[in-house]
Amino acid sequence: MHSEAMLVTRGLTRRFGGLVAVNAVDFDVKPGEIHAILGPNGAGKSTLINLLSGEIPPSEGEILFRDQPIQGKSVRQTARLGIGRSHQKTNIFPRLTCLQNCQLAARVHMGGIFASWRSRAHARMVDERAREVLETCHLMARADTPAADMSYGEQRQLQIAMVLATAPSLMLLDEPMAGMGHEETAQVTTLLERLSDRYTLVLIEHDMDSVFRLADRITVMVDGCVLESGPTEQIRRSEKVRDVYLGRHHEEATA
């Protein structure tokens, strides 16, 4: 069974002092799927992503990535294993150009620790890879623009491009559309749709329309626990989910 899933967690728990942010979560991601995590504020979604990417160690439980335990590994190590992540906050290098940001990301995965001192051929490979991801993310026109000068939506897309440049096999995206307008949200949704052919994605997102359009499966979290997990249709129709989460979400939205 495990060989089917790319990433599996068993009894994953994280406590902060007395607070249990993530409580005995069993969760799995199948290769090639877009797996969205839904839940109200404070449900532990970001903490879960942080556990998966090695940002923080779990208090208890196991994380298996391709059947290998990875709990306790650092972000750098998980990145090297092929888990790329983007942050909720825009997290790019503002002084570098769009292209340089992607080169920086690409370079580390195309050589050893001092990859920065490689040959010309290596430099060309890095450059090609960087341009390729910019192409994918429709940012080619902005290649030589300093990241600080780009619009907010473009910066968020650049962040996804940088994760892509690290050639991950699993991407963890924490609210990639946070703070975007409708048009930009639609753009990024299309981008993620296209990526889903080639990548496995775990996605935290508040924009319901995008989530239901994109996700193959959805896991709903409440108070650190998994409320329900299953195919998108199942979650859409689930009464439990509607009561606990969607209802509350609608109240918040209309309030």
């Binding site: 504020n41 970001s46 650092s74 997290n91 290098f93 340089q100 080169q103 990301a105 370079r107 907010y152």
Partner: protein
Amino acid sequence: MLHRYPKRVAIIMLVLTLLVAVFPLWGPAVFGDQVDFIQEKLTLMVILALFAMSLDLLVGIVGLVSLGHALFFGIGAYTLALASPDYSAASLWWMLPLVIAVSAMTALMVGLLVIRTKGIFFIMTTLAFGQMFFYFISTSQFAGGTDGVFIMFRPSVTVGEATLLDLSDPQTFFYFCLGLLIAGYLFLRWLTRSYFGQVLDGIHDNEHRMQTLGYATHGYKLAAFVISGVIAAIAGMLAAMQYGFANPAQLGWHASGEVLMMLILGGMGTIFGPILGAFAYEILLYVFEHLTIHWPILMGLTIIGAVLVLPRGIAGLIIAPPGEKSADTSRRKSETVSPVDASAQPVAAQNKEG
């Protein structure tokens, strides 16, 4: 894109370098019989410029504030002093590699301990290691205790039997130091513009992001620490040749503080700024010392003033003169938060779940 400055920077630096380089031509006319003394001062400024520049790699480029950098300056000075024979000149061909090796080893050992610390912690640990070495040297018999060690002869630079450079000649020594400063500058300029430099910039902006991308940031920081330490040690070696002795005062924490002052005066993160800063500091020091015996008060107030009103130093004035409206401020080193984190983030996004 990064570390590229307006043309006038290159022009100003070239003119100043030329002015310093041809000092023997115009010096006597301006300073009269003071000329030898001034030339000695000038040599010292060149040496301190190399020292300050080495620290800029750590402080300005990587963003690691070291308050123990004089440790490496002292290592260079003491290595030369202790390895030189008493009654003859050492060979520079031996001394230079020795200084590099000893300082690189020390920087590696200290670096392995301090590089894992951050921010204020890094400041305190570098300061403490600097002091540890200071006490070690000033209480050690072999290093002459608080008196230090004298160097009777400057190292020789020979090829076979022929003397290539006579470093005991003040003029030759002056050009030797100037040559090393220029070489050091070109090296650091190349380094900061290389991919390696790009990674260092990335670490300065957002180390955590670099780790998320998969960079072993500690390795890069350690490398920068060692390179910076070795260059500082070479400057220290030159200083020991210039003074004719190595002394514990050269490696105390006040010396580390002074070189930081040169950085702030000159403008950090620019590599060329600290050169200007070293000259400015030494000139100010000279002026203040002549004004009053209580010159440290003036120096202290100058530094406080520089921090408050001129945080980018002289280099900042040259890159973006106050009268000229800079087209894009974000392109320059941001000294506080990066503009993306601070302002581009809409309120809605910040309020969502953390």
